[in-house]
């Protein structure tokens, strides 16, 4: 694999990454994807900042899906790994709430942090990127659970950490009291009333439904095992 000369992480003679030393706190080397994004999307790309060698770029909400799609598909970018989806709310009341995506290009050894600013008064809605990264599924559900941000287009947006009938709100919001909104007794009563087995169904536990979206090599392996087990192609 060849690495572009602008790679954020230097390589040694064997091509192995070297831990960068002496990275400046501010004004380090800017991720080259920023210039490419500006050339391609223009006004939709907001300001950017480099902190400890990591580049953060603010993106317009309307353009977010297209930006991430482009970063994922464009051969010169190839951001093939979604590290995290999360959000930040600041104590400063006028500062907007930020939704954060961490992307990594494993081949190009680049890291990019994308942020979308959301007005607290407005609807907390951003597009879901599950169509691009399937791994965004639970990350977006967690973000919805903890912050109440709705990911438009997510096929199954429900709580992840708290139980489904949790009624106290979204715990990581700044206006959420540390001990929750209800009394201890009420919290315990509601928690005990939840049925932990409600979501366990044979449909969720079976792999049959997921077969179509499995990678080809895994499909082939499962088919081979099936032949080895049953002796004939496709028969039971």
């Amino acid at each position: 694999m060849t690495h572009p000369a602008t790679s954020a992480i230097a390589s040694d003679a064997n091509g192995s990454p070297i831990t960068p030393r002496g990275v400046p706190h501010h004004d380090g080397a800017v991720n080259p994807s920023i210039a490419a994004l500006r050339a391609h999307f223009g006004e939709a790309i907001g300001r950017h900042a480099v902190v400890w060698g990591e580049t953060t770029v603010y993106v317009d909400r309307a353009a977010l899906f297209a930006v991430i799609q482009w970063l994922h598909d464009e051969p010169s970018q190839r951001y093939d790994y979604l590290v995290d989806v999360t959000a930040v709310e600041y104590r400063d009341a006028v500062r907007p709430l930020e939704v954060v995506w961490h992307l990594r290009a494993l081949g190009h050894r680049q890291f990019l942090r994308i942020k979308v600013e959301l007005d607290r008064q407005g609807p907390l809605v951003v597009p879901s990127i599950m169509a691009i990264y399937t791994g965004a599924d639970w990350l977006e559900r967690e973000c919805f659970d903890m912050f109440g941000i709705r990911f438009e287009g997510h096929p199954d947006l429900r709580r992840l950490l708290m139980w489904d009938s949790y009624a106290e709100g979204h715990p990581l919001r700044k206006d959420f009291p540390l001990r929750g909104r209800f009394s201890r007794a009420e919290q315990l009563k509601q928690a005990l009333a939840a049925n932990p087995e409600a979501r366990y169904s044979m449909n969720e536990l079976t792999i049959a439904e997921a077969f179509d979206v499995l990678p080809e090599d895994m499909k082939q392996r499962l088919a081979d095992e099936r032949v080895a087990r049953h002796g004939l192609e496709g028969g039971e």
Binding site: P171, F176, R184
Partner: protein
């Protein structure tokens, strides 16, 4: 207080000619001796306390000395539930279900500060002491407790088991609130009464 009244079986009259008291006490001794030496623990480890529990079970501290080397990962064959670690509210129904699945007689050790009181996690997500969900026999302080502390708790539990009386079954009757009783107070009323008098973490014991 709204609970099924205990059956009055805790006293016995000694009739020297019948000699049944002698037999009963020996049977107590025998049964308790057998139970004491083969308490099968059901580990419910959720946090760092479970690491200390593993250490206790391993060769250096050797849980086998107490007849507990057979860890029962099914509640249906377990005698002691050792709850090691914090219990989130989402896990509360699971812990209660596991306790209900254990056959009588059964005991519970609450290991560590988090299981006993919620510990430092005085927040929206953590049960403030598992005794708000299930009855507890022995509490082990510590964050996490050293294996010696857990072994001390096990010895205390064995002492308790030795003092069990077969004829007094009340200690192994699972007490369920009886709504038809005149003394029954609904949970909401208990909350209302007990809320201002709660301790620092505001525990109430009325949750069903």
């Amino acid at each position: 207080m709204g609970l099924t009244p205990a059956r009055a079986l805790s006293t016995t009259t000694v009739d020297p000619s019948a000699q049944d008291s002698w037999v009963t006490s020996r049977l107590d001794f025998l049964v308790n001796w057998a139970r004491t030496g083969s308490l099968w623990p059901m580990p419910f480890g959720t946090a760092c306390c479970a690491i200390e529990f593993m250490s206790t079970a391993a060769s250096r501290f050797d849980l086998a000395r107490f007849g507990m080397e057979r860890l029962s990962y099914s509640p249906r064959q377990a005698d002691v539930l050792i709850c090691a670690g914090r219990v989130p509210l989402k896990l509360a129904p699971v812990l209660r279900r596991i306790y209900q699945q254990m056959p009588q007689p059964k005991w519970v050790i609450s290991m560590g500060a988090c299981a006993s009181t919620g510990g430092m996690f005085d927040n929206y997500a953590v049960v403030q002491g598992i005794d708000t969900i299930i009855p507890v026999d022995v509490y082990v302080p510590g964050c996490p407790p050293r294996p010696e502390a857990l072994m001390h708790a096990i010895l205390m539990l064995q002492q308790k088991v030795r003092q069990d009386r077969l004829r007094d079954r009340t200690q192994h009757v699972e007490i369920v609130p009886d709504p038809t009783s005149q003394l029954y107070i609904p949970a909401s009323r208990i909350d209302e009464l007990s809320e201002p008098f709660g301790n620092a973490v505001n525990q109430t014991r009325s949750a069903p």
